[in-house]
């Protein structure tokens, strides 16, 4: 299975400013200190070896959209954040090469940052495309239609030409969808959110658990998450806030922290955790620091096999 991240930022899309890019270039030039490079490959090696990720790249700023290439012939996409636009264009290139035009969406919830990409999803205008929107929310269709009402958007939902179907899922039930086993579980968030567990024919398992708050008063409920995450190859988790923030000023905001995600993954014996749904006010350096601290916390509290901790960014591909 291949997991491709098209949007990894929470709440609001963000983009680096001219000054942000300029400062990265200044820093890189200072580190290079007059080094000359024979070609692009040498320059890229310098970036990989001498600059940290924040200095040499960016975590990106599109809101959540994660694609799973599960070998089933159809597309599997978690959420429709602003990253969906880029995915849509990429899929059209693949469709031109013969890819099946069937899109299976799985919505964690209906908040703006997780559905805002759909009005810009080009395949929705293709009458030959089939779009199945899977959601445990009964009002998923209402949410998508509402954001395309004229007061908000110039193109009405009814102008979309694809065959769009809404499929309601029930937490706790197992589904087989185009060769992939899918389960969903209820999470704590405003208007409720749902996590997903995907298992392909080779037994590779990915968990998508975003916008899920784990409150100090409800720690006994975490046993259900440990079962849901059990032995997953990759767990994608909302790690928006520090633990202290999540229990104080950001309590009841519906998000979680890196430490809780690591602890849940340790207990579930998951293999890899992807930090996700990054705080929009965080600069790349802040996210990198959070990633480094997460790796260190995992080392300090490890009581079994190591958990690989990666940090999702727009464009990241993880092959399981």
């Amino acid at each position: 299975m291949l997991v491709r991240f098209w949007g990894t930022r929470g709440s609001l899309p963000v983009a680096p400013t001219a000054d942000t890019i300029r400062q990265k270039i200044v820093h890189a030039l200072l580190v290079a200190n007059g080094t000359s490079f024979a070609d692009a490959a040498e320059a890229e090696a310098f970036i990989d070896n001498e600059l940290g990720f924040a200095a040499g790249a960016t975590y990106g700023g599109a809101t959540p959209c994660v694609e799973l290439e599960a070998g089933s012939g159809s597309y599997f996409i978690c959420d429709m954040g602003s990253g969906l636009r880029s995915f849509g264009l990429s899929s059209m290139k693949r469709n031109a090469e013969g890819h099946r035009k069937t899109y299976n969406f799985f919505l964690s919830h209906l908040h703006w940052d997780h559905i805002m990409g759909f009005p810009f999803f080009a395949p929705a205008f293709d009458p030959m495309a089939t779009i199945r929107v899977h959601a445990a929310h009964p009002d998923a269709e209402d949410a998508l239609r509402r954001q395309q009402e004229e007061i908000s958007f110039p193109v009405p939902f009814d102008w979309l030409r694809a065959d769009i179907q809404f499929v309601q899922l029930t937490p706790g039930e197992a589904y087989e969808i185009d060769g992939v086993q899918v389960e969903t579980a209820r999470q704590q968030h405003s208007h409720v959110s749902y996590g997903y567990r995907f298992t392909d024919r080779d037994g590779r398992t990915v968990i998508y658990s975003t916008d899920s708050e784990h409150k100090p008063d409800n720690m006994e409920d975490e046993a259900a998450f440990i079962t849901f995450f059990r032995e997953a190859d990759l767990v994608i988790c909302d790690t928006m806030y520090s633990l202290a923030e999540s229990v104080t000023m950001k309590e009841d905001w519906g998000h979680s922290s890196n430490l809780v995600a690591i602890d849940l993954c340790h207990e579930a014996q998951a293999k890899c955790l992807a930090l996700f749904h990054h705080e929009p006010t965080y600069a790349d350096e802040d996210i990198q620091r959070m990633h480094e601290e997460s790796i260190r916390y995992e080392e300090l509290t490890r009581n079994g096999p190591p958990l690989e901790v990666i940090c999702a960014y727009d464009g990241l591909e993880v092959r399981l």
Binding site: M219, L243, A244, E245, V247, V260, E267, R296, Y297, T301
Partner: protein, 111 residues
């Protein structure tokens, strides 16, 4: 995890040893609740958690501390963390809990 409670003139000391993790956070939380009760009944405002023998605390333990702090705040009892080892210092920094709790080198509070 092991713990003990000690009443001193001006403080309740909770000494915690071992690890506070998924298997012991509930017992840790119960110990903190007991300590807060003792502090309330004794009119004591200072509750010290002696981490000197604690290997580490996961987010479960840290969040149990948060629950205890809320209970303590209602009784105007101040919880502070004393004598953390290097691992706990890192965990407190990574979690930013060093911004939520007073941390002292020893269980005595220099006034």
């Amino acid at each position: 995890m092991e713990y003990s409670l000690e009443r001193r003139d001006d403080a309740i000391i909770v000494q915690v040893g071992g690890r506070v993790d998924e298997s012991s956070w509930e017992a840790f939380g119960a110990a903190l609740e007991e300590a807060i009760d003792q502090a309330r009944q004794g009119g004591v405002r200072d509750l010290v958690i002696d981490l000197g023998h604690l290997d580490y605390m996961s987010s479960r333990g840290l969040r149990a501390l948060t629950v205890a702090k809320r209970q303590a705040d209602e009784g105007e009892i101040v919880i502070r963390l004393a004598s953390p080892n290097e691992v706990m210092r890192e965990i407190l920094a990574i979690s930013r809990y060093d911004k939520l709790f007073m941390i002292t080198e020893t269980i005595e509070l220099k006034r």
